[in-house]
Amino acid sequence: MTLLAVENVTRRYRMPRQSILQPGPVLTAVDNASFTLQAGKTLGIVGESGSGKSTLARMVMAFERPDEGRIRLDGQDLNALSASALRAVRPRFQIVFQDPYGSLDPRRTAGWSIGEPLRATGDTARAEARVAEALEQVGLRAADAQKYPHEFSGGQRQRIAIARAIVTRPALIVADEAVSALDVSVQAQILNLLMDLQDDLGLALLFISHDLSVVTAICDDVLVLEHGKTVEQGPAEQVMAAPRHPYTKSLLTAAGLT
């Protein structure tokens, strides 16, 4: 079943003007990207800085609108929804960010942050129990709900961010460089956690990363972006074993995977 369909999506930004007489140049951050993600599967979006992968993530999360193309979740065009209708479907798709220090409000307890998606939709029945359950699902203790972000390590914070993302039982999680800031041994723990949760909850993952070794370890399919253009797309094993595009090859070489 197709959960997420990105159809011919293009996003352009106007750069700051360089002369007072002419408007600033236009940067095409994402150029005609298309892919589908099946329920319960993992798609990796690989690219370096400036590849447009984060822009793509923000568009999938409906933080930004594409200039062209459509993004459908469960067949529904996200940008055709009204603001309140969009908020009503938000529990279906959540996001985990890169920076475990920036993604939690320093002034709110872990439990408060995890419960936010429940309060947002007025779905507050048994909220406390569901927060506790989410904490345990990510390998923390229910009592950790009372603590503030600074009391946790980077890896634990990322677990809290994941707990917030799964508390509404979403069908899709966008992981935007979710393990990139973590130490290798912590990264392995979080990757395993994501795989476990995916198996237990039937989550689909849109896994965005610059690190090809991480992507191929967790993803079913891979899409490689270079300067907003899709240069390669296919099953992870195939892309790894027989990359066709020179850019993909250079990434594999740089990561020490060839």
Partner: protein
């Protein structure tokens, strides 16, 4: 060139580095690997005499035969740039945004070597060529925001090379860069070390980069050196249980899928304790899969370059 023995960096009761010893010969390329809190950056700063004010540094540290432990800031300043230079993770943060990069690189030449502006800029141009900056003459007049992250790191390498140091300490030099750029910076550092017979201390959590740049390696955990040796040997046949765990935890695509399901990565259980809560014996005690009763309380002996009770008893981790 540099001889360090039993160097410790303490913050009150917390030990960021405990009894580190190493020797850096001219032209040596040494990698220091470890995760956050391993003390690898603190060790690098101590070699520059740049430990934080709150730190107490003990042990012996000689540079060119001169004892620098407890040396004054003035003595250190005489060594910095000219004998030991350092580059950091964030090239943007290390450059003055209001100065042309050519002037930034020319400054130490004018200050330390008394060159005039023209002569210093000529030398800066030569350095820019040496570090492989494209169109070096035009780069001299550019500001940091006008060049890419990789080029900024090259500018900082040029700045570090300006006074021909005998040792370049590179603290996570590739971490903020894209993979392809990181690879080229790693290659550049290696080439410069070989061509100039300049020692290189490559501090990084990136094992791939360290494997490329260095011939010797030190693995740190909780402020201690747990294993050392030739880079290829340590990375291909690790002996210490921490090194083994760290290498195994790296996501490697091969063998991750078996019969259609994804294999989980081997992990090191738990998290690194805060510096003041590390076990007094082996720092890895409490997380180690092959722990012995004495590990938490007794410091492990160093046998054949690995600090481990089990290995010392002839066991294999």
């Amino acid at each position: 060139m540099i001889d360090v023995s039993n160097l410790s960096v303490n913050f009150g009761p917390a030990q960021a580095v405990r009894d580190a010893s190493l020797t850096i010969a001219p032209g040596a390329r040494i990698g220091i690997v470890g995760e956050s809190g391993s003390g690898k950056s603190m060790l690098g700063l101590a070699l520059m005499g740049m430990s934080p004010d709150a730190a107490q540094v003990t042990g012996s540290l000689t540079v060119d035969g001169t004892q620098m432990a407890g040396a004054s800031e003035r003595d250190w300043r005489r060594l910095r740039a000219r004998r030991i230079a350092m580059i950091f993770q964030e090239p943007m943060a290390a450059l003055n945004p209001l100065r042309r990069v050519g002037d930034t690189v020319a400054e130490p030449l004018r200050v330390h070597e008394g060159l005039g502006r023209e002569a210093a800029l000529d030398r800066a141009l030569a350095l820019f060529k040496e570090v492989g900056l494209p169109d070096p003459a035009a780069r001299l007049r550019q500001f940091p925001h006008e060049i890419s992250g990789g080029q900024r790191q090259r500018v900082l390498i040029a700045l570090a090379l300006a006074c021909n140091p005998g040792l370049l300490i590179a603290d996570e030099p590739t971490t903020a860069l894209d993979a392809n750029v990181a690879l080229r910076i790693t290659e550049l550092l290696t080439d410069l070390s070989v061509k100039r017979q300049m020692a290189l201390m490559f501090i990084s959590h990136d094992l791939t980069a360290v494997a490329r740049a260095t011939t010797e390696i030190m693995v740190m955990y909780g402020g201690t050196v747990v294993e050392r040796g030739p880079t290829a040997e340590v990375l291909n046949a690790p002996r210490h249980p921490y090194t083994k765990g760290l290498l195994a935890a790296r996501p490697r695509p091969e063998g991750l899928r078996q019969s259609g399901t994804r294999r989980r990565l081997p992990t090191i259980p738990g998290t690194v304790p805060p510096l003041d809560k590390l076990p007094p014996g082996c720092r890895f005690a409490g997380r180690c899969p092959v722990e012995l009763p004495q590990c938490a309380t007794e410091r492990p002996p160093v046998v054949a370059n690995a600090a481990c009770h089990l290995l010392a008893q002839g066991g294999a981790a």
